[in-house]
Each structure stands twice: as structure tokens, then as C-alpha cells.
Symmetry: C2
DNA sequence: CACTTGACACCTAGGTGCGAATTT
DNA sequence: AAATTCGCACCTAGGTGTCAAGTG
């Protein structure tokens, strides 16, 4: 990892956060106040394993956090197009709180209830894809996987894992940063990146699964949990088609509409689904 | 991997090979005809697990080659110092034939015999360390390991493995290449790298072990072969001190003298042990 | 009571030499 | 006969949820 590179776009991401707060939405192909650099303005990102992500999302995805760090399942993986093949990019992820609430699970009716305001925010970290930096051609060649990313609830973690508060809800974000070789490129940092959020990847951080249906879906779909399977080893075709369509609620329709195709970066702070921003 | 970088020093390495053939030796700190770039002239490389390598070398190291590719054991690992911390380097390995001979093993007296001239040379490949390119600081931070390198006897291999002829003897080489950002840096390619050979890492490529003592030492020292151990699980302290000193032959003394300490690059084509070149 | 921790059995993924079968 | 190939049992290394125990 290149330290000098990292420092370069910390500024950029900070800008991104504040812009997200101040702007209500980002219309697809709408007028732009800030022009993005050509190296990032055409970047398109497609979430892999969408069908599986949606299955989990319908039930209310939960992700285990442990002291030593736990992988995400499903793994966050994307296919990228529209990069400048010869330009250098850094790819990274972070996690932002979906709201300012703490939750608890009501077993009697299998639903999440608000249990007060959020705890003090965990130290915010970024996870750089280990292949960073690399030329666009390399990133676009095949699926980019964040399978080495781990989630922890240890506030003092020194393994570089992503620190989250259990019983809080998070939205993964994906950032594409163009490594500008120009001198004083920091002056253009805000032009040199774009960000993507896929609403169907939101999840509740937990230390133990609460919703039994989530547990069952993890066991059915994660190869490492095969030891807990009881049913046929048949139903393992995730990743192509959703086993069931999104249900009739507004959120379901939104997800279907916005992430059914690949996603284009929009001008200021790009989202996987432009109108499907986390509720704030 | 950066293709443009690769192309840059192919020339350099080619030069290296021809120089090795034409020059009888490379005296430690002697007068130099060609001045190396400051980024590489002070680079020092120390072989890890020397004691283990020497134990194998005394018996006549054998490395398995398979169609699908086999790791080396011991693994080629080095500690590096003397790099420019902020300069970019590419690290790579290749394997050169020790001689022009084909061998066979005489079981009756446990020795290798010459069995004619070498077969047609296998396609010569280079193995780039997967972290390449990276700044000197990163390479020097910890041991650099080539544990993902695999050896194959499949002339048509398309997995990027190192292709070797079975029953032929090879010398691993290690190359440090400075990535010169200057325009027309290819004109200086021969200045921008240095190479290291450790005589104790020479080996015979085989499809099945010939010397039973080699088999036993592999079983005793490779964790993955633990299933074949019969003796105490005690004698597993390789890497610190040699269990037995090199025996009384000239080669043993040579190895001891030349690779007992860390090794400095010398001017033209640097070797781990300057006078311990493979016999040609 | 709600939540967290840690030992555990059970997996995946892949690196070993063995030994029978096959090829040259 | 010599050399190679392949399935195999046996490992390492580490990712699963479970369950009992611990914490506040």
C-alpha cells in the first residue's frame, strides 16, 4: 500500500461524506455542479451475487462481528467497466451507519425494534483492496472481490479490520479513486474519485444471529457452513436468478429498479442506485 | 503486474545472462566496468532458512516437478536491505541450468550419474513476486517469500509456472529491478537491476524423489508432510542453526564462507556468493 | 435478561509423499 | 528398466454456526 496515495484522497472522501449529507439526491445523468475527471466519470460498477444479496436483504441481512474479525457473507464483489485501462486506480470500501439508532431483536414477532440512539461511533476505517493500486485494465479483467475484508467489534483492533458497533445498521460503500500523477493533484482530489452504494448490501452487525431465517440462509449458501446443512445439497444455485422476487413493499421495488442493471457513476457522489440512498 | 515494466528489464536480464557466461567471476568490491544505479548498487540480500537449505544441499537437493505445478521446499525466502525506501522495485526469480547434462540416479551407491547431454531447454520464464512493484521500504519491512512459485515439467503450461526439465539440475536466481521513472530509462536498463544466486539453493528437478535421505528430510521438515513422520516431533528446529556443519569438501567450505553472512550486490552481475558460481 | 465470548465439530481449500498403474 | 502420472490418506490453515459459559 502506498501511503502517499492514501493521504491524497482522504480529503476527497471526506468531501463525499459531507456532500451526501447536504444533497438530497443524485439524478441519473442530471446536471452537475462539479465535473469529475474523465478517468472516473464513466466508471460503471455491477454488484455480483445480486440475487443472493437480495434474498438476504429481504430477511434483513445480519453480519457477525467478532473480536478477531469475521468475513462478510455474502462477499462484496463487483464487476467494473468504463475505466481508463492504462490509468492507475485505488479501490476501497468503507461502512457508514444507516441511521443514528441502536436496535434489538424481538423474537416473539421476528422483527427489529429501535432500542435507543446509536452508541458512540466506532473508529471509521477504510479497507483498501489489496491489489491497489493497479491499472484500470487489471481491475476490469475480472471480478473484484473483497473477500479478505473482516468485520470486528473490537474498538482497539490493530489488524486493520473494519470496526462496527454490534446492533447497529450499516451501508457498505465502494470507492474508485484515480491516482492522478499530476503535481498538485490534491487540488483536484474531489474530481478524482467516485463512490457506489448498493442498498441490498445493507446489514445489521451482530455478535450472534438473531433471525433464524438468516442463519438458515447462511447455512444453505455459504460453503463453509455445509456441515450444518440438513436439506438437499440441491438448492445451491445462487448468483444467477433470485429464488423469489422482491416483495411488494416500496423498498423492494426500489432495489429491483435501481440495481437490476449495472450502475453508472453520477457527478458528485455516485450511488449504485441513484435514488436508493440510505434513509438519513 | 505492469506489462510496460516487464518489457523494460527483459533486456537487462538478457544482458545479465550473457555477462555471466563471458566473465569468469565477480570479485567482492572489485573494480567495476559498469556502474550500477544508486538505487540498486547498495542492495544486500540474505537467504532465509540457510541451515535447512544447507542440510538439503549436502544430500543433493531434489525438487518435485508435476504437470499441475509443485511448490519448492524449502521455500525461497530472502531478507533485503540497502534499498532506497521510496524507490519502486520489481522482484523476480528465474532458474538457470547448472550444466548441459542430463542425470540419472544410481540407487546401488546412492549417487547421481551423468546420463548424456541436456534435453532441449524448457521455455525460460520469470516469476515476478506478486507484490511487485512496491517501494523499497515495503520490501525491506519483512521477509520476502516466493511461496506461491510452482515448478512444472509441462512444456505447454499456461498457469505461469516455472518450466523445468526433470533430471536436470538448476540454480535459482533472484533479481532486484529498480523501476526507473525517467523517460528513456530503457537506455539504462542494464544499470537498474542486480542479481543474486545462492549456491546452496541448487537442486535436481525430479518427478519422484530418488535419494531416500532427501525424502526423509522433506518429511521431517515440511509441515505438510507431517502425516508421514514416524520419529519424535522434536527435531523441527530448522532455520536457526545447522544441525551439522558442512562437511570437509571444497564445496561445503565454499558455501560456508560465501553465504554465512548477508550478501552484497557486485558491479555487473551480482551473486550471493561471488566466487561460488555454478560450474559451467 | 440481553448480549458477548470462546471452545468445538465440521467444513473448504490445498500442500504432502505413497504406491499402484501407466508410459516411454 | 526407468521415468512419469494419478488417486489417495493425511496433513496445514482457516472459515462456519453451535452451544455453554461468561458479562453487565
Amino acid at each position: 500500500m502506498y501511503m502517499e496515495v492514501c493521504l491524497l484522497f482522504l480529503l476527497g472522501l471526506a468531501l463525499s461524506q459531507s456532500c451526501e449529507l447536504s444533497l438530497p439526491g443524485c439524478t441519473d445523468g442530471g446536471a452537475l455542479f462539479i465535473t469529475k475527471a474523465p478517468q472516473v466519470c464513466g466508471v460503471r460498477v455491477q454488484l455480483e451475487m445480486q440475487a443472493l444479496w437480495r434474498q438476504f436483504d429481504q430477511l434483513g441481512t445480519e453480519m457477525i462481528v467478532t473480536k478477531s474479525g469475521r468475513r462478510m457473507f455474502p462477499t462484496f464483489q463487483v464487476r467494473i467497466s468504463g475505466m481508463d485501462p492504462s490509468a492507475e486506480y485505488v479501490l476501497l470500501m468503507d461502512f457508514i451507519p444507516v441511521d443514528d439508532k441502536r436496535y434489538r431483536y424481538a423474537f416473539h414477532n421476528s422483527s427489529w425494534l429501535v432500542a435507543g440512539r446509536a452508541d458512540v461511533a466506532a473508529p471509521s476505517r477504510m479497507h483498501f483492496h489489496p491489489d491497489s493500486p493497479a491499472p484500470g485494465a487489471q481491475w476490469m479483467k475480472q471480478t473484484v472481490s473483497f473477500d479478505t475484508l473482516k468485520l470486528t467489534n473490537n474498538l482497539l483492533d490493530d489488524n486493520g479490520h473494519m470496526i462496527l458497533n454490534s446492533m447497529h445498521r450499516y451501508q457498505p460503500r465502494f470507492h474508485v479513486v484515480y491516482v492522478d500523477p499530476a503535481p498538485n493533484s490534491h487540488l483536484n482530489a474531489y474530481k478524482n474519485f467516485c463512490s457506489f452504494s448498493f442498498p441490498e448490501t445493507r446489514f445489521m452487525a451482530v455478535t450472534a444471529y438473531q433471525n433464524h431465517r438468516i442463519t438458515q440462509l447462511k447455512i444453505a449458501s455459504n460453503p463453509f457452513a455445509k456441515g450444518f446443512r440438513t436439506t438437499d445439497p440441491q438448492d445451491a444455485d445462487y448468483g444467477s436468478l433470485p429464488a423469489s422476487l422482491p416483495s411488494g413493499d416500496a423498498f423492494g421495488r426500489l432495489v429491483q429498479r435501481c440495481s437490476g442493471k449495472e450502475t453508472q457513476a453520477c457527478g458528485l457522489s455516485s450511488h449504485g442506485a441513484s435514488a436508493a440512498k440510505p434513509e438519513r
